[in-house]
């Protein structure tokens, strides 16, 4: 039988052999062995061997020359099956895991790693399969971050205050949807959107004006530079005092943060068109607006989208931080600062998860729009 060696399954097998030298996976099982008459629920009673067998079978089968997709499927079943049994088995015995628990966890992680590397080396012909793969590999990565987090936190019994397991965060997220929705509505749909649109719009308008009138460029750029260097932590309380507790003050902070990146990028973008292209417009006796609309703005689009993407993350940070300095009793920043004080760390994590989700969606939407608008740019069309 011909083999195909990869280091991950080999290492997983080594870890399993190492784990077999230890008598028990948890302290509870040790107690039960020491006192066989007591009727205690023993963690991993029966599943311990099953986990080892599943992982060993997956690792060995993956070394055989199988079709790539079959190998990936076997590895996924073995690693996720083992992980599921490890995580569910530790319930009720949190903090009592011993070395074999972590060794088996590591073994299943290595098998999943191998699966991801097999999958990312596949080059399927059909476009839909390629799309599926492009989503599957990062999903696998994300899933394993959560699995390792869950298993380590619960196995080692990390205090809830320090780091809650993702399952608890998920439960908290699901059970407080109305609160989270109200916070998103306040922070994203009021502060961030208003501030982002106004900040980017003003930055863009100022850039066009500064490009047209030299004195503005010379006057505005250094001041804009200075404003962007102001620490947000210092600006936010001043603006909150000035404009009140509601979303307007947060939008103002977002404007301050997003204005300058848009200004600088747009000014750079407006001078991105080549000499020849501009001479061409001159030979057509094209006026200022025609040259702006037909040449300089399209050529500036890659720069403008850069600014839009940078600003999408800045806007979220700005609005959340500004809410630390005063807000009506709603908003993501308000919730984070108060729930930290009340030791509800899972709620803080839930807010973080929501912010990450919203930020990713926002950024992803922008990236899609960028592809549609700057399809012609070498960085998008590839060469």
């Amino acid at each position: 039988m011909r083999l195909r060696f990869a280091w991950q399954p080999v290492l997983a097998l080594a870890l399993l052999i190492l784990a077999s030298f230890f008598p028990s996976m948890t302290m509870g099982a040790l107690d039960a062995e020491a006192n066989p008459t007591a009727t205690v629920q023993v963690p991993f009673d029966g599943t311990s061997t099953l986990i080892s067998l599943l992982l060993a079978a997956g690792a060995i089968l993956s070394l055989v020359r199988l079709p790539k997709t079959a190998e990936a499927l076997i590895l996924l079943v073995a690693s996720f099956g083992a992980a599921w049994m490890l995580v569910s088995g530790i319930s009720g015995a949190e903090g009592s895991a011993l070395a074999p628990f972590f060794l088996k966890l590591a073994a299943s992680w290595f098998l999943a790693w191998r699966a991801a590397s097999v999958l990312s080396n596949l080059s399927p012909i059909s476009a839909s399969a390629r799309t599926l793969l492009r989503l599957l590999v990062p999903a696998l990565f994300g899933a394993w971050v959560l699995i390792l987090w869950e298993a380590i936190v619960r196995g080692a019994g990390v205090p809830f205050i320090l780091l809650p397991p993702p399952s608890a965060i998920g439960l908290r997220l699901v059970s407080s949807v109305p609160t989270l929705w109200a916070d998103v509505n306040q922070t994203i749909f009021k502060s961030v959107i208003a501030g982002y649109v106004a900040g980017c719009g003003l930055g863009f308008g100022a850039a066009v004006l500064a490009d047209r009138y030299g004195f503005l460029r010379r006057g505005l750029l250094p001041i804009g530079n200075m404003v962007s260097a102001l620490p947000i932590i210092g600006v936010a309380p001043i603006l909150v005092n000035l404009l009140g507790f509601d979303w307007q003050s947060k939008a103002a902070v977002v404007i301050v943060m997003t204005f300058f990146p848009m200004l600088v990028n747009t000014i750079a973008g407006l001078s991105a068109s080549g000499h020849m292209e501009r001479d061409l417009m001159r030979t057509y006796a094209s006026n200022y607006w025609q040259t702006l609309l037909k040449l300089r703005l399209p050529a500036a689009m890659p720069f403008i989208f850069n600014a839009l993407k940078i600003n999408s993350t800045l806007a979220l940070i700005g609005a959340i931080v500004a809410e630390f300095f005063g807000t009506p009793v709603v908003g993501m920043g308000f919730r984070i600062s108060t729930e930290v004080g009340r030791m509800n760390i899972d709620m803080v994590w839930a807010e973080i998860a929501v912010a990450a989700l919203v930020g990713s969606l926002f950024y992803g939407g922008l990236a899609l729009a960028e592809r549609a608008v700057t399809f012609w740019h070498p960085s998008v069309r590839g060469g």
Partner: protein
């Protein structure tokens, strides 16, 4: 030939230039007012290393329907002269008229089409929309735009590539599209600045042939900058030889080749004689310092 023989006007040229190559009646010359008329033209660039004389005392008259090539080593001012005609540079001495107007007025009147060294097509526009660009700027209606795009793309043999983006075409096709763009608004004067300089020789031969056909069909006046002697001789009715430091005209050669020019005309003794004279002119004007 020395500088005193520079042409003062088109009709004078017919008489002044008396060379063994030149039976005056071989090339049928169109009549009419000159399209470009330069007198004592000079242009000095101010640079950090002191003034650079890009052009000195250029006297030249280009008649309607001529195909004039400008040839010379780099720095001889051939491109600068073309840019002065196009009002992309302002002369610092002398006068120049284009269609009887100043270059600025001529540019405002969209008197010429300019083809650059590179195609300079806008990558976000398809080929047809690139050709439409000058038409949009000049405010030409949609129906007529479409008709002209169709016609000019056919003229440069690019029919069927309307919906392609420039980066999907070869360099030669891109340059043909840029010629179509310059032709689209029907200016009588075509200024071409080494348009085929970046292309390989096979493509270049092909485009030269097509350019001559196009010139014959459209009866435009063409000013063509090149640094290739065969290209200049093959294309032109007149060859202006220039030399650098300071940029000046050293010779003006009338071509005796017939209007109808297949590519193998380049092996005829007549062709080689003209090419020899161009080479001599370039050598004489070039100071090897």
């Amino acid at each position: 030939m020395d500088r005193s023989l520079k042409l003062l006007s088109f009709s004078a040229a017919m008489n002044v230039i008396a060379s063994p190559l030149k039976p005056a009646d071989v090339v049928p010359r169109p009549s009419g007012a000159s399209v470009v008329e330069a007198r004592g033209l000079g242009l000095t660039f101010k640079t950090n290393d002191g003034p650079v004389q890009a052009l000195t005392d250029v006297n030249l008259s280009i008649g309607k329907g001529e195909f004039v090539s400008f040839i010379g080593p780099s720095g001889c001012g051939k491109t600068t002269f073309l840019r002065v005609i196009a009002d992309l540079e302002r002369p610092t001495a002398g006068t120049i008229h284009v269609n009887g107007m100043t270059p600025e007025q001529a540019r405002e009147a969209r008197a010429y089409g300019y083809v650059f060294q590179a195609a300079a097509l806008y990558p976000w526009r398809t080929i047809e929309h690139n050709v439409a660009l000058p038409l949009e700027i000049m405010g030409i209606g949609k129906a007529e735009r479409e008709e002209r795009i169709k016609r000019t793309l056919a003229l440069v043999n690019l029919s069927g590539f309307e919906k392609k983006f420039p980066w999907q075409l070869s360099g030669g096709m891109q340059q043909r599209a840029s010629i179509a763009r310059a032709l689209a608004f029907d200016a009588d004067l075509l200024l071409m600045d080494e348009p085929f300089g970046a292309l390989d020789e096979i493509v270049r031969d092909h485009l030269n042939e097509q350019l001559l056909q196009l010139w014959a069909r459209t009866n435009k006046t063409i000013c063509f900058v090149t640094h290739s002697i065969p290209e200049a001789v093959y294309l032109s009715t007149r060859i202006v030889v220039m030399s650098p430091r300071p940029g000046r005209v050293t010779d003006v050669i009338e071509s005796t080749l017939p209007h109808e020019r297949p590519l193998d005309i380049r092996e005829t003794p007549e062709f080689l004689a003209i090419a020899h004279r161009v080479r001599e002119g370039l050598r004489a004007g070039h100071s090897y310092d």
